[in-house]
Subunit: 316 residues, 2 copies
């Protein structure tokens, strides 16, 4: 996108490293900062792995040419000011603590140019709660990716009370230019959209095991041999449309009453040390099927394959 050439990445855990790889892959100059000393070798290794995924995903044949010199576009800093003082866009990935973000945004905005767009990767906090004391808070917004950000196309965009709506439009265009699929929410809610949907599923997944209906392994099979396969292709609304030959309305008329019964029957699961022990034990049991398998690697390989498949099917 016009005007954005240099990007500051604040906080380089897994999410920050993933963003960094994507920005580098797309040809940007990237300045990276972390509050803890960055292990350069480990960090570059992680970036390299992410770049390999991106290359595998890229259908264009001439996309590997610039990867050799890609690290020339990367600068690491242990000083926040140096990393953000002259950038056009900032992607912040600091820990999920409100007090920490409040201070961080005050600091970032005291250093960076007035025109810099500032996106927070926060998975659950509201921008309104940490933009208040910043300088020019109108350019601060949520740009929440889904893990791993270099692969998953979703970016949730929403402004805080003080955000300029025009900034959200620019942000959406910018993420789109990176090949992402941004959605712009109408208002702030805790957990945004995707995490709430995911949490709703987790609640019932935890509850069914806690209530002794089935094992964690059964739940995972139920998803990956059932609705999970469909959710990689279509979301809940199109799936409901396809649930009845006459379409959505008829599907709701048929499914609505039993669905309401199931909702009413769902337990109000709550986390406790006891439930965590139980669920962890069951997960360990399930993991015995995957001995000597690098599950993250397998997931990322699978994500690349499914994303390609979606392109072939012209679903995106």
């Amino acid at each position: 996108m016009e005007g954005i050439k240099t990007i500051g990445v604040v906080g380089v855990g897994i999410i920050g490293a993933s963003w960094t790889a994507l920005f580098l892959y797309k040809g940007f100059k990237v300045k990276v900062y972390d509050a803890y000393p960055i292990d350069e070798e480990l960090f570059k290794k992680r970036i390299q792995a992410n770049l390999s995924d991106l290359l595998a995903l890229d259908q264009q044949t001439d996309s590997s040419h610039h990867l050799q010199d890609i690290f020339l576009n990367l600068e690491l800093y242990n000083n926040l000011k140096d990393a953000v003082i002259n950038v056009d866009f900032i992607q912040e990935n600091a820990p999920e603590r409100l007090d920490l973000k409040q201070n961080l945004y005050q600091e970032i905005t005291s250093y960076c140019p007035e025109k810099t767009l500032i996106a927070s990767s926060s998975s659950g906090l509201k921008v309104s709660d940490f933009q208040k004391d910043a300088t020019h808070p109108e350019r601060i917004f949520l740009g929440h990716p889904f893990n791993p950000p270099h692969l998953l196309p979703l970016v949730e965009i929403v402004g805080g009370k003080l955000t300029d709506p025009q900034i959200l439009k620019k942000a959406s265009e910018f993420y789109q230019s990176l090949g992402k699929h941004p959605i712009v929410l109408n208002k702030e809610v805790k957990g945004h959209v995707a995490n709430r949907l995911q949490a709703a599923l987790w609640r019932e997944a935890f509850s069914l095991v806690k209530e002794g209906v089935c094992s964690a392994e059964d739940v995972d099979i139920a998803i990956t041999s059932g609705p999970g396969l469909r959710w990689a292709l279509f979301g809940p609304y199109i799936n409901m449309e396809l649930a009845n030959q006459k379409g959505f309305k008829e599907a709701i008329h048929h499914l609505g009453p039993p669905m309401t019964e199931w909702w009413n029957d769902m337990q109000n699961f709550q986390h406790s040390e006891e439930t965590t022990e139980l669920l962890e034990e069951q997960t360990k049991e399930l993991l015995t099927h995957y001995k000597d398998v690098d599950l993250s690697q397998k997931r990322d390989k699978g994500l690349v394959d499914i994303l390609k498949l979606r392109q072939q099917l012209e679903l995106d």
Copy 2:
């Protein structure tokens, strides 16, 4: 599986036709009954389409040989007795009405041999509630597939109060021999497992749109560009394990508190004519992106591709 050669399929709407295709593909003799006159041409066309999917899914090269004569193994009846009088296994797919199923099971069990296993595809009813007045109710169980049954590997198995646990073991082996991934639940709950998980997601998907947070299209993008892609690879438990480098327990310690806030913030969505209108309108808006696209066909093509991909990744 030894002993099962002839299968009776009771009720041949979409689900019954899909089961029929699978049973035929696997070499069984299939006797089909429906309460309404079966349009033979339409029915065989549907079967043929399902068989094509199965052939596309099949990695073995020599699997097309028997498809030519496959309809020799199919018999259509408009009389229940003729369809079930001499079969080893019955897959029942009648409408989801308890009174109807109660009568149907009384009738079926008065005709079929004592040794016949009888599976119900019921998506929400409890077997306990319709097996009571049947003859030899101990061989009646739930064998709930996921749509489309010829493709999706999940089969949920659970017995009613009067079901013999040994029957569930046999049923599980039988479905496994067809290439399915059965799970055997410890106890009956409304909606079983997969439909409850799906309904939990739908509740929040409907709620977010009703509360004006985002559009139906946004929800569908959030899933198919986010968690939906992961759910085709791993279920909620493995995904939680991968959410933190230290594994499940640490992931819960970090995600548990915000997740609890999101749960507490979720609205208790209830279906009404008003919400159905709103959600349908939004779905229609979303469908304008898919003009002239046969979505069911695209879904089934995509499912075949993802199932193959899971085989390649050695996930099943």
